[in-house]
């Protein structure tokens, strides 16, 4: 019985460790031929297991008119640890994005 309990605890621990590492993965999406400007970051926090999700403030980006070059979503070690310790009650992710510098046709000098 003890052995079964130990195995079960071990599996649960492995699941937690796996969630911790997988939660820090980078999810990256880019347009074809991105022409990136400076990177900006925002933290989006979900509480009550997703019933309440918000950023701390709204953002006015400098990329108006050009759109996104790329977007990256990831959690930091601290964000993942907070999520695990709070049993998922608080789950934050960082969204990093870069504006597109624009694509101009070849002109005449």
């Amino acid at each position: 019985m003890d052995a079964i309990a130990l195995v079960a605890v071990g599996v649960l621990l492995l699941m937690l460790v796996g969630q911790y590492f997988a939660g820090m993965a980078d999810y990256y999406l880019a347009i074809e031929n991105p022409r990136p400007l400076d990177e900006h970051e925002a933290v989006i926090t979900s509480r009550w297991w997703g019933f309440l999700t918000q950023t701390k403030s709204s953002r006015v980006a400098e990329l108006v008119g050009q759109g996104f070059a790329d977007i990256r979503v990831f959690a930091t070690r601290r964000q993942m640890m907070t999520s695990i310790l709070t049993c998922g009650w608080e789950r934050s992710v960082t969204v990093a994005w870069r504006g597109n510098a624009g694509q101009h046709p070849l002109g005449q000098a």
Partner: protein, 510 residues
């Protein structure tokens, strides 16, 4: 108005460079943008005049300035504290030139292009390599996210055997300083006076000495707003990528410039256009190395066109992803680096794949997923065996955890070009950043200066641990000549405007 105040926009006062190796706490952020005017000379005149006014405002306020393009350099050459930053990435247009724009009416205008300082290398390649234009850059760095002005400022190199650094494409430069808009080209005139005046330049310098200084300005001669570049007809490259057993005899072949023999042994039986060898510094001759060859092709007949740069073997800087593992398991570094190299190569690219692409397709704009370490050294090619063996011993012995990449090139033009020997070899340490790797890199640099010193230079844009004494020793008379040109372009008060901690430490602002 091409210069726009973006101080209120994120990331606000705290700005971090592309590879997150340095930050600036700024008192103002500005963006230089194309005004969308045509013809191109009007757009460049508008941008240069706006930059001139902006520099005047900064000078009046006594605030240091720093232009930034791709923000690519991990050496933090683009950071400034309590200063104004000018982001040039939206000043990114390219233009064809006409016969009348040149002094010599016999010049073939199709070879030349006028580019704005903020245009990214990848953007230039995309435009040049279109079917409509059919031109190409001859060589660039492996990554293409830098702006043309930034890449030239640091003398960025590739591994094309018959070409030098990227600045070798440049035939004329427009630089803005607080005193005016300068047009610099060699003593033999290229562009017509009428064209130069139309770009807003009021001071024309036709001088080989000034041109040689302006080719690699190291961010210290003013703000580069435009360039005329010379290109070559579009060509294609067939890629070979594979793991090889790399021995001392191979290293000697490379040092002797026997690239054809090296290619016969490990690639195709023909002269390669590009050769790069990625080695494992932990027992480099007992572990596998990755070799990448590119062979020039006139057409794409019988070949499969690569759809992504990665298919041609680009993106090898994926080594950066396991930083913390390497840092925390130093005893296993050799094994881990080898495993990463095997995974990165996969099944490789063989002759039977007949995978082909343009030069631009062989490079890639990578997205850093980890804090990277990247350092690059240059030496005369014949000294490579000593540099490599001594370097690997010191670097690996101190726990350095990056691959060591060997590249080969001609000496680049420009007084401060770090690839400065007629036959130059480059040795890059690219991988995940960690304090241990930084210490190991420093130890390696010290080892080269020890008994039986090996002459070498360091990349301006990468981790280099340079100081003023070392810069003076590396560049000698060329540095004195470069400073003489700088003093012609910038008065002491104007020089103060371009001071930063990094440039001060290198002795380039004094």
């Amino acid at each position: 108005m091409p210069v726009v105040d973006i101080s209120g926009h994120p990331p606000d006062a705290r700005w971090v460079n592309y590879h997150k190796t340095g930050e600036s706490i700024l008192s103002g952020r500005f963006a230089l943008r194309s005004a969308g005017l045509g013809p191109g000379r009007d757009d460049i005149r508008e941008g240069a005049q706006a930059t001139l006014e902006w520099l005047g405002d900064a000078k009046k306020a006594g605030i240091p300035v720093r232009p930034v393009g791709g923000a690519w350099s991990p050496s933090n050459i683009q950071t400034v504290q309590d200063g104004w930053m000018l982001n040039t990435r939206r000043y990114n247009r390219c233009f064809r030139l006409g016969e009348d724009d040149f002094t010599d009416r016999g010049t073939v205008p199709a070879k030349y292009f006028l580019v704005e300082g903020g245009v990214q290398i990848d953007e230039i390649s995309d435009k040049l390599e279109s079917d409509e234009v059919g031109r190409s850059l001859r060589s660039t760095g492996a990554s293409n996210g830098q702006t043309i002005a930034g890449a030239c400022a640091t003398g960025t190199h590739g591994s094309v055997l018959a070409a030098g650094g990227i600045q070798d494409h440049v035939r004329a430069v427009q630089i803005v300083t607080p005193s005016g808009i300068h047009w610099i080209e060699p003593a033999t005139p290229l562009m017509s006076d009428k064209f130069i005046a139309a770009t807003g330049a009021t001071m024309v310098h036709r001088s080989d000495e000034m041109f040689a200084a302006a080719l690699v300005p190291v961010g210290s001669l003013g703000i580069v707003t435009a360039m005329v570049i010379e290109t070559v007809p579009r060509f294609y490259l067939q890629a070979i990528l594979k793991l090889i057993d790399f021995g001392r005899a191979d290293l000697q072949l490379l040092a002797d410039g026997e690239f054809r023999v090296f290619s016969d042994k490990h690639g195709l039986p023909e002269e390669p256009y590009f050769v790069m060898v990625v080695t494992n510094p932990h027992k480099p001759f007992r572990r596998k190395a990755v070799v990448r060859f590119l062979y020039e092709r006139a057409s794409m007949d019988d070949c499969k066109c690569a759809e992504t740069p990665a298919e041609l073997g680009a993106g090898y800087d994926s080594f950066t992803m396991l930083g913390w593992v390497l840092h925390n398991l130093p005893f296993a570094n050799g094994f881990i680096i080898q495993t990463i190299m095997r995974l990165a190569v996969g099944k490789g690219i063989g002759p039977e794949d007949k995978l082909i692409g343009t030069w631009g397709m062989t490079t890639e704009t990578h997205k850093p997923l980890a804090k990277i370490f990247t350092g690059a050294l240059f030496c005369e090619r014949k000294d490579l065996p000593r540099l490599f063996e001594r370097g690997c011993e010191a670097f690996a012995g101190a726990g350095g955890a990056t691959a060591v990449t060997l590249r080969f090139m001609k000496g680049g033009h420009g007084l401060l070009a770090p690839a400065r020997w007629p036959e130059t070899a480059g040795m890059d340490c690219d991988g995940p950043d960690s304090p241990r790797t930084r210490r190991a890199f420093a130890k390696m640099l010290t080892a080269f200066d020890g008994q039986d010193p090996i002459p070498f230079t360091r990349h301006w844009g990468k981790e280099n641990q340079l100081d003023a004494a070392r810069v003076a020793a590396d560049y000698g008379v060329d540095l004195i000549r470069w400073k003489a040109v700088r003093n012609m372009l910038l008065s002491p008060a104007d020089r103060a405007l371009f001071r930063t901690q990094v440039l001060d430490a290198w002795g380039l602002t004094a």
